[in-house]
């Protein structure tokens, strides 16, 4: 996984709450067996609407998505993360994320920055008043910064220490775990024999 330290890109205001993963990518787009190519399914139902934010310039080249609370709830599909990444998103900012989506993002290298509700409201206003405004997300300092002047936004975001460290170092989870193989083998030795097996 590529290491993530800081990212600056055009912010996209998604004025919606409860954006579940069925909205991010509907199930009919989940049939690929590859890890890429999911861009065509991203927000598929809304993309038909010319006024949808991602159909507007300059938001169409945005890389930092700013969404309302409960982003990524529902289905466990990691395809939601891949679709966002395939489109070019590096960061999603929201006051609250679905647990599985947040976990998946951390594994795949998409940064989920959890901020206060008010920060999202201010970012939405700024991005809509001044389309094309870039947002800088600094994972080392855990800050988001956008704009200058009276509407400027600078605030901190939350992310758990372990995910932050892994993203900063670009570490692969499986390798980290396999370093503890003796502990896994020792655990297997003491598992009760009545536990079921499939083989």
């Amino acid at each position: 996984m590529e290491a993530f330290t800081t990212h600056t890109g055009v912010g996209v205001p998604l004025r919606r709450s409860n954006v579940d993963t069925d909205q991010i990518i509907p199930a009919v787009y989940l049939k690929r067996v590859t890890r890429t190519g999911f861009e065509d399914g991203l927000f598929a139902a809304w993309r038909n609407d010319p006024s949808f934010v991602l159909n507007q310039k300059p938001y169409d080249v945005g890389t930092v998505l700013v969404a309302g609370p409960d982003f990524g709830t529902g289905s466990s599909r990691e395809h939601a993360v891949w679709a966002l990444q395939d489109h070019g998103f590096k960061v999603v900012i929201s006051p609250r994320f679905g647990d599985i989506f947040r976990g998946n993002s951390g594994k795949a290298g998409l940064l989920t920055a959890q901020v206060d509700d008010k920060v999202v409201l201010r970012l939405w206003d700024l991005l809509e008043t001044e389309p094309g405004t870039t947002i800088t997300v600094d994972l080392t300092e855990r800050t988001v910064r956008a704009g200058d002047g009276p509407g400027a936004v600078e605030d901190s975001f939350d992310i758990d220490d372990y995910t932050r460290w892994r993203l900063l170092e670009g570490l692969d989870d499986i390798s980290l775990t396999l370093a503890h193989e003796p502990a896994i083998a020792a655990y297997e030795q003491r598992r009760p024999t009545f536990k079921p097996v499939t083989a």
Binding site: R16, S17, N18, D20, D22, Q23, P26, A27, V28, L30, K31, R32, V33, T34, R35, A44, A45, G68, P69, D70, T73, G74, S75, S76, R77, E78, H79, V81, R96, G98, D99, I100, G103, N104, K107, A108, D160, D161, Y162, D173, I174, L176, T177, L178, H180, E181, A183, I184, Y187, E188, R191, P192, T193, F194, K195, P196, V197, T198, A199
Partner: protein, 481 residues
């Protein structure tokens, strides 16, 4: 201080625990299906890794499989590729697979319990958010993403941050005609879709203890719909009776050892939960959703709510968008809403008990003109059991469609979909925009409400049905499954 049930199961599975890092948890059972696994197997191949414990792994085909002509090659080439990829991966990595056509094929969360593989005190994961279903047995079961599927395949473990714990205590007794589904829909409307975020929930109290295993599975299944990581019910005699004699349940001395252990899986009297909620089952009624998330629900006897009545601006905006999508007007009585399709099935309500309940209401009646009733058993064994009991005939004589096993219209990955603006009453778990087909409008309901709605054509409960003037033909013989 004592521990909660969830904490006991967690502690039992910690392989490694270090300050500042998530615990490394051992996984007792890894369930796999065709949609969220191909990229995980591909990752293993690229890294030259094996499946560490194929003997703790089970695969089936459920999400995209057709429920008609299921004995023929799958017509949709993309779905076929996905299923064939799973078959190749299962073969290459030595994973047991129950493919389409196999007697044990079915929705992954139906077949685990049915086989007796789902047992108290286990850790169970699957690349599917409704894995919480297995919590009904006192297992710690949760959905994971594809990267985590790969992680479990390679290591049989998962790094997991210790979640907070919550108790949902349901006192009293559910009134007649009110089901586990109504209970959980009432709960979600109360908490909102994010109310459980970060928590492992234990459902407890007399109303939960009184539920059958099927009912407990329905409740635990929908834990994710209010954001909870997992939902558990402490195992008891109901659990042990359900499990005894199932193909993969322990036998003889192992059974005795297992039951002795399972009986310790209760929350200690002096344990503390991080949060507690209490609900009274005796006040509950048939409950249905009007909006586009499972928290947007009201009693069937109520009306579509007025968005302006919500306290928070974001709720008002959400409600307005939902009503627009659903094509509904505030103030319309829920019972006046006409549907086009009724779907009975899914990992929420696709078990034999559900089909029996639906058949009992439909028996001797006819589906309303212009209504499509789709009955999709959760597994092949459920289908065969239902056919053995003559339930299929009841549905077909009433004008319903009887299908093969799978996830079907719950998520519309196969041909079973709603057309744009088509409206369903569905026993499934999600009413998200487009969930059952692009532009489709979903009302989540219990099995009795679904069956009564199919007869009347508008959202209804069995009390709305005309009584029979002459006695109905006798019920098919009830057999245990």
């Amino acid at each position: 201080m004592g521990r909660t049930l969830a904490e006991k199961v967690w502690d039992e599975h910690v392989v490694r625990s270090t300050e500042g890092e998530p615990d490394l948890l051992y996984i007792d059972l890894h369930l796999i299906h065709e949609v969220t696994s191909p990229q995980a197997f591909d990752g293993l191949r690229l890294a030259g890794r094996q499946v560490r414990r194929p003997d703790l792994t089970l695969a089936t085909e459920d999400h995209n499989v057709p429920t008609l002509d299921w004995d023929q090659p799958i017509k949709d080439p993309v779905s076929r590729t996905q299923v064939e990829t799973l078959r190749r991966n299962a073969e290459e990595f030595g994973v047991r697979l129950h493919p389409l056509g196999d007697l044990d094929q079915g929705i992954v969360h139906i077949i685990g319990p049915q086989l007796g593989l789902t047992q108290p005190g286990m850790t169970i994961v699957c690349g599917d958010s409704h894995t919480s279903t297995h919590g009904a047995f006192g297992a710690l079961a949760f959905g994971i993403g594809t990267s985590e599927v790969e992680h479990v395949l390679a290591t049989q473990t998962l790094p997991q941050a210790r979640p907070r714990t919550m108790a949902v205590t349901v006192t009293g007794e559910l009134p007649d005609g009110v089901t586990a589904k109504d209970l959980v829909l009432t709960l979600i409307a109360h908490t909102g879709t994010g109310g459980g975020q970060g928590y492992v929930v234990e459902y407890r109290g007399p109303a939960i203890e009184a539920l059958s295993m099927e009912g407990r599975m329905t409740v635990c299944n929908m834990s994710i719909e209010w954001g909870a990581k997992a939902g558990l019910v402490a195992p008891d005699e109901t659990t042990f009776t359900y499990l005894e004699g199932r193909p993969e349940a322990p036998e003889g001395a192992d059974w005795d050892a297992a039951v002795a252990y399972w009986k310790t899986l209760v929350t200690d009297d002096d344990a503390e939960f991080d949060k507690e909620i209490e609900l009274d089952a005796s006040t509950m009624t048939p409950f249905v959703t009007w909006g586009t998330n499972p928290g947007q629900g009201v009693p069937l006897s109520a009306s579509v709510p007025d968005p302006d009545g919500y306290e928070h601006e974001s709720d008002r905006v959400g409600a307005r968008k939902a009503l627009e999508y659903m094509g509904l007007e505030a103030g319309t009585p829920m019972r006046d809403i006409k549907v086009d399709t009724v779907f009975v099935g899914s990992c929420t309500n696709g078990r034999i008990e559900d089909l029996r309940a639906a058949a009992e209401i439909v028996r001797g009646r006819s589906v309303a003109d212009g209504i499509r009733l789709l009955v999709v058993p959760g597994s092949v064994r459920v289908r065969l059991q239902a056919e053995d009991e003559g339930l299929d005939v009841i549905f077909k004589e009433a004008g319903g469609e009887w299908r093969g096993a799978g996830c079907s219209m719950c998520l519309g990955m196969n041909p079973d979909q709603l057309a744009p603006q088509e409206r369903s009453a569905s026993t499934s778990n999600r009413n998200f925009e487009g969930r059952q087909g692009k532009g489709g409008r979903t009302h989540l309901v219990s099995v009795p409400v679904a069956a009564a709605t199919a007869i009347r054509g508008t959202l209804s409960s069995p009390v709305d049905l005309e009584p029979f003037e002459t006695p109905r033909p006798s019920a098919p013989q009830d057999r245990t499954f």
